[in-house]
């Protein structure tokens, strides 16, 4: 129990930093302002030194987690809904619906997520909607597979047949009989989806897309040249990003385990 708290503490701290750091930074100053020479080490008034453009790394760290929380959470929620719906429909209806859904899923699974990211950013630019679209297109096929397999298993359990026999309609069977019984595996998978969504969103910033606002992903690529001078401009966002992604994964896993009981 003690060990678990010890592991959970940094995770909770980084999530709080990502969500609320924005407001703290707003009270401290403008993260875009140049405050010193590029790649100054930590010192008075600059707890983490400056980045390659001479901006305050601590302020940018406070403000740069926000884009990596809101978009991934929204995107994963949408991914789960779409993936569950298509997977359930494929498993329940079988036949041509199943063949179609399975083919499309297999097709999308074969395309590297980064390629999807680049093609969508190429066409529609960087904004919350395109980022959500990338996560949904690359993530929904995984959820769909999990939901389909779980649906097939649930249908062997008798209560579905019973419900159909009692005259329940398709929608009612799907929502009231099958859905509650397949939530668990979908939730167990959602942790991975959320971690990947955080990675993809950060990768967009890392690859240089998006506005010149603080973003942990972008901070890493902007300052990697200066790691020999001062490592903090890269190390701080890298560690925060790593802890955030791991927390996303393990946090949802724990939630799924709790539902299990």
């Amino acid at each position: 129990m003690k060990l678990r708290t010890l592991v959970a503490l940094p995770g909770a701290a980084v999530v709080a930093l990502a969500v609320a750091g924005h407001w703290i930074a707003a009270g401290l100053g403008d993260p875009g302002r140049i405050v010193g020479r590029p790649y100054t080490g930590p010192g008075a008034g600059l707890p983490l030194g400056t980045d390659g453009a001479g901006r305050d790394v601590w302020l940018r760290l406070l403000a740069g987690g926000r884009p990596l929380v809101l978009v991934p959470v929204l995107a994963v929620a949408l991914t789960a809904v779409i993936g569950t719906a298509t997977g359930m429909l494929a498993g329940y209806r079988g036949g041509i619906v199943d063949a179609l859904v399975s083919r499309v899923d297999g097709l999308l699974l074969a395309v590297p997520p980064v390629l999807v990211l680049l093609v969508i950013l190429h066409g529609w630019g960087y904004n919350p909607v395109t980022l959500v679209a990338v996560v949904v297109v690359t993530g929904a096929p995984f959820v769909s597979r999990v939901a389909r397999a779980a649906t097939l298993q649930a249908m062997r359990q008798g209560y579905v047949e019973q419900a159909v026999g009692l005259g329940e309609g398709t929608v009612s069977v799907l929502l009231r009989e099958i859905l509650p019984n397949i939530v668990r595996p979908i939730l167990a998978d959602a942790g991975t989806r959320l971690a990947i969504a955080v990675s993809l969103t950060a990768a967009a910033g890392f690859l240089g897309f998006g506005p010149d606002e603080p973003n942990w992903g972008a901070m890493i690529s902007q300052n990697v040249e200066g790691v020999g001078l001062t490592p903090w401009a890269v190390l701080a966002p890298a560690v925060c990003l790593a802890v955030l992604a791991v927390t996303a994964n393990l946090g949802l896993d724990r939630l799924a385990a709790r539902l299990d009981r």
Binding site: A110, P112, V119, H122, F206, P231, A238, L241, V246
Partner: protein, 323 residues
Amino acid sequence: MKRPVLAVGKRLAAAALTLVAVSMVLFAGASMVPGDAASASLGISTTPEQIDALRAEWGLDRPLPVRYAEWMGAVLRGDLGTSLISHRPVIDVIAEPLWSTTVLVLIASAVTVPLAVLLGVLTGLRPGGRLDRFVSGVSLTVVAIPSFVVAGLLVMVFSVTLGLLPAVSLPPLGGTPLDRPEILVLPAGSLVLFATAWASRLVRATVVDANLAPNAEAARLAGVPERTVVWRHVLPTRGAAAVRALAPLFAWLVSALFGGTTVVEVVFNYPGLSTVLLTAVRNHDAAVLEGVGLLLAVVIVGSLIVADLLGFLANPKLRTGTP
């Protein structure tokens, strides 16, 4: 003997259809967009008429299916088109970077596959054991962390702190990455960490499944030593099924590596496909993007076919001749 041939033919046909579907999606995604190369290459101080004229000159104003048919026709003749920005043939633009990326991916897979199988088998044979808990913990963490963060942390440790390996992976002027093999270590290492963490978990799941098969359990209950159970009972009976289950995994591995490498390359300034892809996206150079996308699709679908055939050949029913 006819059946296997027919089955293989069917698989190849399905793969070809998949490839056509992927190429259509890619072409549509890369071409059917609001911003295009005409406006991107003319800059900001242009009139709509100038943009329309350039679009007409490049044939960007014709319907999408027509452009797809023309593009596909040219591709089948071995012509991937011309870059809309540099006006060089797409093949020339991507040939060298593609080779660099392939070298990196091949090295990474050559290390990943045996390592993932070894770790997966060792942990899967003793689920819940000390090694299993350790490997599971590490791989859960590594899988979640973005690959460029892993790469950045490796740079911190091995170049900045220890000074063992170069932080920037630039080959000598006019040379190839193989002329300075040490520049490949950290990029390949980042890919291996990420891919091994991911693949070893799936190998482990397959091994755990195979190990719980009824015949293995029965042998164990009869007092057969564990080593004999694994070598005499699990491997001969479940080995083929395991190969079938794992073959697609390694095809996906190729896809994940080719995808992951584009991000990792950026960390190290490695002269691979990432530079080409990113430049193409910034300049709305649809021709290059489609070319790279198609090549990647060929590689991925190709490895899926190989995986599928391996799984098919590992099917014991094929040896006995019964359908």
